[in-house]
Subunit: 275 residues, 2 copies
């Protein structure tokens, strides 16, 4: 089933009221994480505040979200300010507050892109021949996981998520097919959220769940509005790995590819973990 | 020669006056880029505004700088606001203005880190056995390049920068030894700047200079203040590559390693280019 428009839980969870750069939203139980909401839904709703702003120019190009504190269940305010508008780019500062306290900050760059020479230097991931992926269904995963159909090809956390014949990998690599559940046509908002659907690499690397939370997330978009039409609601391929675990923080990088092997977005994040 | 403290050109270029979150700085001719200052020196001076702030907690962990417009030669203002201070982390919004206009925005996360299990998943780059690197000396490079001793092992742009026996590489990869010239003990500020010393990948990939400029830069720091002592002023190893060139933007990722193979910082940036 594919849902569009305001009926989809994703659209309900990123719905904003208000206007002129001052918006109100509400947390959604379906997108809850261990503590507070799923970071991807926070990224999406903050991006939406710029995207829906009447002065917005062009398409999202870069987004950084800093998670300052776990949101409490309930309403929140978002302020989105276009701090600089150039001929073809626009810079935004976005703040999310609850009762006047900063819970998250974000910056976004929007751009009107024009067609140029293009080349994808990163290699499309090698897909295992053996299986189509293990669907995450363990009830111990947080609520937001059930808003996605995630089929994991690589990156198990046995016994909660066991990939048959998986060898031990370095770099805490994951490879997975992802789409909204129920399906929903991909757009900038859902692509932003999907960039955060990779579990903290510490789970994969040490094969155990420990307290962990993203502190800062950056996303670069490699598509324009017009290109989403061809993508529809088809699953995308996500790939992620860790760089360094050190002194209760680690960083991970990730990419999202279309089924046609187009690199849609690249992202990085730094994550707190407790031993 | 090693210089320390306020005598070094880097310290002069990142010097701030003022206080309580409102600072004044001045562009430095030595760190000029093609248009406006070198992005690395802007990143450093914006980070400094938080680092020198009396309310600062802990060490830099994450920094994102968005370059909104080329700075004009002369003075500028920086506002650094600690928007959220937790028990062990602190979130900053930093803005750089000239005559009241936003020229750059930044966010920074600081943290008090504590010792945990550590592991570097990324592999230390394979160094070519043949040479110690080609020093960049071409007078056609912008002024900031002369503030560094950069020895390029991989990533030529012939005839301006020719690496002997270099094969054609995909992913527009560069590998280079870097240190301040004259030498200066490494710290968070110089490490931030060094993360931006990799030429735009479009130069390497297409072997030509085209108009290009970083739009957004993110850096994750993997070291704490105490660890810099052991690093001294020794050259660090930088590694960079491109992910995707598309519709007048591309993204590149980079790492900075110590000579002891410690991963000091990881970074990513998205860059405008003109065909």
């Amino acid at each position: 089933m594919t849902m569009t428009g305001q009926d989809h839980p994703f659209d309900a969870a990123t719905r904003l009221t208000g206007g002129n750069g001052r918006y109100q939203g509400h947390t959604a139980a379906g997108y809850a994480n261990m503590v507070g909401p799923f970071g991807g839904i926070i990224a999406a709703v903050m991006l939406r505040a710029s995207l829906d702003h009447p002065e917005r120019l062009g398409d999202p190009l870069a987004l950084t979200v800093n998670f300052a504190a776990p949101l409490a269940d309930g309403s929140f305010d978002i302020d989105a300010v276009p701090v600089r508008t150039n001929r073809s780019t626009q810079h935004w500062n976005i703040g999310l507050t609850q009762k006047g306290l900063t819970m998250a900050t974000a910056s976004a760059v929007f751009a009107n892109r024009r067609m140029t020479w293009s080349s994808t230097e990163m290699h499309y991931p090698a897909l295992p021949a053996v299986h189509d992926g293990v669907r995450i269904s363990d009830e111990h995963f947080p609520a937001w996981v059930r808003q996605y159909d995630i089929r994991v090809l690589q990156g198990g956390i046995p016994p909660s998520l066991t990939i048959e014949h998986e060898e031990a990998f370095t770099r805490a690599v994951s490879l997975q097919w992802i789409c909204d559940e129920p399906r929903r046509p991909l757009d900038f908002l859902s692509l932003a959220a999907i960039c955060d659907t990779f579990f903290p690499r510490i789970y994969i690397r040490r094969n155990q769940f420990v307290p962990a939370g993203t502190v800062s997330l950056s996303i670069y978009f490699h598509v324009s509005t017009g290109e989403f039409l061809a993508l529809g609601d088809k699953p995308v391929l996500g790939s992620a790995r860790a760089n360094r675990f050190h002194d209760n923080y680690f960083d991970q990088t990730a990419e999202v590819w279309s089924q046609d092997r187009e690199l849609l977005a690249t992202s990085s994040q730094i994550v707190y973990f407790k031993e």
